[in-house]
Assembly symmetry: C2
Homo-oligomer: 256 residues x 2
């Protein structure tokens, strides 16, 4: 009355845990649009060449034996983007027993990773990147950005995983200054406003937005003595987390 669930070796010769994985939802912002980085998944029939599966998935991987969960997420992120030291946050764990039971996904798993458990629990991480930093196709020709409201057909339960990541991102963006992670280090107020409008799906008055932002000590003008506040070459700002932490207002505006 025992079932075996084994630990297997993958290509790079490392052992992995066959029922625990991490998935990274990598968000980027360009063309005033919030985007997600996805990888193409293609399976062809070995004899006929017929395309059996053609869709996209998140960046994910099983946790290696002896590897901390967070380290697995960092590893996946590094492998797919080449980036390190970027915003990465665990946001939810997906553990429905039927999350991999779609026939297409079963075919994929049985073909490529036959030792995978029937019940894989996947820990979702969300990452915010300045998408300019990711060199397109650095060895990952099948990796592409998609606007979050124009997602392609997705494998596994990755649609739900992305939606939940979006919820988490929006929830947090309303309440904490994390938008900067999606922008270049130096940004204009218009870029910042576009980010909030796009991600939160709201419209903001430009004058009021500036008024609000400019009175925040943690958003700092990079004074450019050359420019005499000429339009067309707008002022740039940086965000200082240090200043933010120090000057956070302690106003008791809790929401009952």
């Amino acid at each position: 009355m025992q079932r075996k669930c084994k630990i297997y070796i993958i290509k790079n010769m490392e052992k992995y845990i066959n029922n625990i994985s991490v998935d990274c939802v990598i968000f980027g912002f360009n063309s005033n649009t919030l985007k997600v980085l996805l990888t193409e998944r293609i399976l062809k029939d070995k004899k006929t060449g017929e395309i059996l599966i053609s869709d996209y998935t998140l960046q994910g991987h099983h946790v290696l034996v002896g590897e901390n969960l967070d380290d697995a997420a960092h590893r996946v992120l590094k492998e797919k983007t080449g980036l390190d030291n970027i915003y990465l946050e665990q946001y939810y764990t997906f553990g429905d027993r039927s999350r991999l039971s779609n026939p297409k996904d079963q075919l994929w798993i049985r073909t490529n990773f036959p030792e995978t458990s029937n019940h894989v629990v996947s820990v979702g991480y969300l990452s915010l990147v300045n998408s300019a930093l990711i060199k397109p196709d650095r060895g990952h020709k099948f990796t592409k950005w998609f606007p979050v409201d124009e997602l392609p057909s997705l494998g596994f339960d990755h649609y739900q995983i992305i939606q939940k990541a979006l919820d988490a991102l929006r929830y947090k963006l309303w309440r904490e200054p994390i938008g900067f992670e999606l922008l270049p280090e130096k940004f204009t107020l218009t870029q910042l406003q576009n980010l909030y409008e796009a991600v939160l799906g709201i419209k903001l008055d430009r004058r009021n937005f500036r008024k609000k932002v400019l009175q925040m000590k943690h958003i700092i003008l990079i004074s450019d003595p050359q420019k005499n506040t000429s339009p067309r070459s707008p002022q740039k700002y940086i965000f200082s987390r240090e200043v933010y932490e120090k000057t956070k207002k302690s106003r008791l505006d809790f929401n009952i």
Copy 2:
């Protein structure tokens, strides 16, 4: 080059997954104090009777084969409190490889659950209960409430799991109306204020607190025609989630 990780049978004859568990941090509020429900863990030497381990742990359990993660959490909650349909929320997943490596915990595991994997990932759930509803010692003599700032010695990494649950609870209590889950259905404004002061660790002006609360449509007076607003038998209120969802203000007070 394969390691086996098996699925074992526990007392009630159900198979469980030996490397995935859930832990429930059950919060209650009484005597104006936020409390956590913990279970005593005792291990005696079978020969000498010497006490080898005596501390407390959270309510937790391995996920059963074929069981959804959320169902596992509900099961644990039901087993330990007899309660169903109460606030239960997944908040974080703990997956450091060394989380069970303390010698005491290894002794416990090897004695009682020898088939447990060396690397167990545990999904943390937090639950808010009206502690009056839990009958003390309903078959669980070793279960006790502890104030969150007077915790006893804790097994495994349960101290960290509780601290993270506290963080999550406080974060959410600042931003959403979830405090009611910790109070009786009918509550007084003083009770509500005490809750906020105790959980968030703040002091509030009674007049301003009432002013703020009374203008919220989702906090409804249970008018008691008998009472002429006499002190000592204060007015009671209920919380309506329905009204809350309908009247949520759409004010754009995001925090950059």
